[in-house]
């Protein structure tokens, strides 16, 4: 297959003199504190060993020492770029376990805010990825668009990054008219901007040559490592938690899953750009269907105690499948909170996928995986 042509097979470099290069914890291209120990033969990588743990903040341990309500700020901080999705998973698992019914208005607002958050997370990925590749300007255009989203969300939640907006049974407070009009305006504003990015960046011959054919990750490799999200959708597998295990009001909304079969960096890039367009579609539909009503369930117990058992809830976060598993023994503090994060699985395939690549290509591959290091270390 033509994609294999750009690598040297591993056995061709055996016996050659190699040196170890540290892509250290502080590095502009690793998007956080990740250390990658590269064993290199000249320009080619023979082995890339990621060393994570530099930002381990013990969120799962904190889950064992906090009540359910007290744990609410934590999911936002695991992956701060798509904080809404992570909070959604946690409140979702508690609601599922305690049988709390969320009113439809709250569900629709959750979907709208989650999709806005997905767009803002993809805009950060877009800017940072292009920065790694040497194009400095699209970062600032993306951040300009992101400012609009952040201003919208700041208007209803009061925060710009770590929202802590969902509560068990609904939302912290209701959305106002300004948010609804503002979001409608944003959708009309953003569509031409996506076209602009297509012309400025996606169609650019330099970028295409930089990404096409680089960093092939087959669907079989994704399955072995448990990679999810745009990584697996760029390898031709149409796996999206919103379609496979639907939650919230996604079954009532009409949207397509972005899938590209080429398996290279360009496919993953195109998946994310298409996901932004689909998110705009979802937001439009949800705004049209937004019902009136309460924004939080009527009878939510002040102190939440889940019946003993094992509960699970998965969402499609910006980076892939994020799932929370809560094991409860009947007390107000959970026995175990397990956080299944997408970046961890996506990182583990970097070692095998970067075999024999040249360093700039390996960095392009890492950028296309869209890793957020606090998400890996939790």
């Amino acid at each position: 297959m033509q994609l294999e042509a750009l690598r040297t097979p591993a056995d061709a470099t055996e016996g050659k003199e190699t040196f170890v290069l540290n892509l250290g914890p502080q590095h502009p291209a690793t998007h956080g504190v990740l250390r990658v120990k590269l064993t290199m033969d000249g320009e080619y990588i023979t082995r890339a060993e990621p060393v994570c743990g530099y930002i381990h903040r013990m969120h799962e341990k904190m889950g064992e020492n906090r009540t359910y309500a007290q744990f609410l700020p934590n999911p936002s901080r695991i992956d701060y770029l798509s904080a809404m999705h992570y909070t959604h998973a946690f409140v979702g698992v508690v609601e599922r376990a305690a049988g709390i019914e969320v009113p439809p208005r709250a569900e629709y607002v959750r979907v709208i805010t989650s999709e806005l958050n997905r767009i803002s997370s993809h805009l950060v990925w877009f800017g940072a990825f292009l920065l790694d590749l040497g194009g400095f300007t699209p970062l600032l255009y993306a951040f300009d668009d992101r400012e609009k989203i952040l201003d919208l969300l700041e208007g209803i939640t009061g925060a710009r990054l770590t929202y802590c907006y969902y509560r068990f049974g609904g939302l912290y407070n209701d959305v106002d008219e300004a948010f609804i009009t503002g979001t409608r305006e944003f959708v009309t504003y953003m569509r031409p901007r996506l076209d602009m990015y297509r012309q400025l960046v996606t169609g650019n011959v330099i970028l295409r040559k930089r990404l096409e054919g680089i960093g092939p990750i087959s669907a079989e490799m994704c399955r072995r490592y448990g990679a999810t999200g745009p990584v697996v959708r760029g390898s031709g597998v149409a796996h999206d938690v919103r379609k496979v295990q639907p939650y919230s009001v996604y079954p009532e909304l009409d949207f397509d899953v972005a899938v590209f079969p080429e398996c290279d960096c360009m496919a993953r890039y195109l998946v994310r750009m298409e996901e932004m367009a689909q998110s705009l579609r979802i937001i439009e539909q949800a705004l049209q269907r937004l019902p009136e009503g309460p924004f939080v369930a009527a009878k939510v117990p002040r102190v939440i105690k889940l019946p003993p058992g094992d509960y699970y809830y998965a969402v499609e976060a910006a980076r892939g499948r994020f799932a929370v598993r809560v094991v409860s023994d009947g007390k107000e503090i959970p026995y175990r909170v397990k956080l299944r994060t997408p970046s961890f699985a996506n990182l583990t395939l970097f070692e095998e996928a970067s075999q024999g690549m040249m360093l700039p290509d390996a960095l392009a591959l890492m950028g296309s995986l869209d890793l957020v290091i606090p998400d890996i270390d939790r």
């Binding site: 609410l72 700020p73 209803i156 009061g158 802590c164 912290y172 012309q199 400025l200």
Partner: protein, 148 residues
């Protein structure tokens, strides 16, 4: 051969399109709000550190020192003390200290308060030369100094 030539021309065309777009952006005004010469107005629901709400009638806070906020806080930021004065039906607060170095602005305290005695402030530039601005902020002293 012909395909290669067409590819070359379309590739070059994509470069020119990119340059046209950046030139269009060149002539648009800067987006930056030039802080500190200009600043933005914080939205109504902005989450600054919490403050006690001032009751315009009495000039003091309405807090009843029930300690719900202290229990609800995930980060142990709040210490509340109160006494029941003679002739009052409920306790009133004597001491309310906020440790802002740990606060994550989750809003649990504001939400759980039964008398709505807490609200978020709009303070966002919190540079200070003294520790009291962040560690053990005395909210009772602040509420009496607030405008109604």
């Amino acid at each position: 051969m012909k395909r290669a030539l067409l590819e070359l021309l379309s590739g070059f065309g994509s470069l020119l399109t990119g340059m046209r777009i950046t030139l269009q952006q060149f002539f648009k005004p800067p987006v930056t709000v030039h802080y500190p010469h200009e600043s933005l107005k914080m939205p109504a629901r902005y989450r600054g550190h919490i403050l006690l709400v001032r009751d315009p009638a009495t000039g003091k806070s309405v807090c009843i020192a029930c300690k719900s906020c202290e229990k609800a806080c995930p980060s142990d930021c709040i210490v509340v003390e109160g006494i029941k004065r003679e002739g009052d039906k409920r306790k009133s607060v004597t001491d309310f200290k906020l440790d802002f170095t740990r606060c994550s602005l989750c809003g649990s305290c504001v939400e759980v308060c039964p008398v709505d005695a807490l609200e978020f402030s709009k303070a966002y530039n919190l540079a200070s030369t003294s520790k009291e601005a962040f560690y053990q902020i005395d909210l009772v002293k602040r509420v009496e100094a607030r405008d109604p």
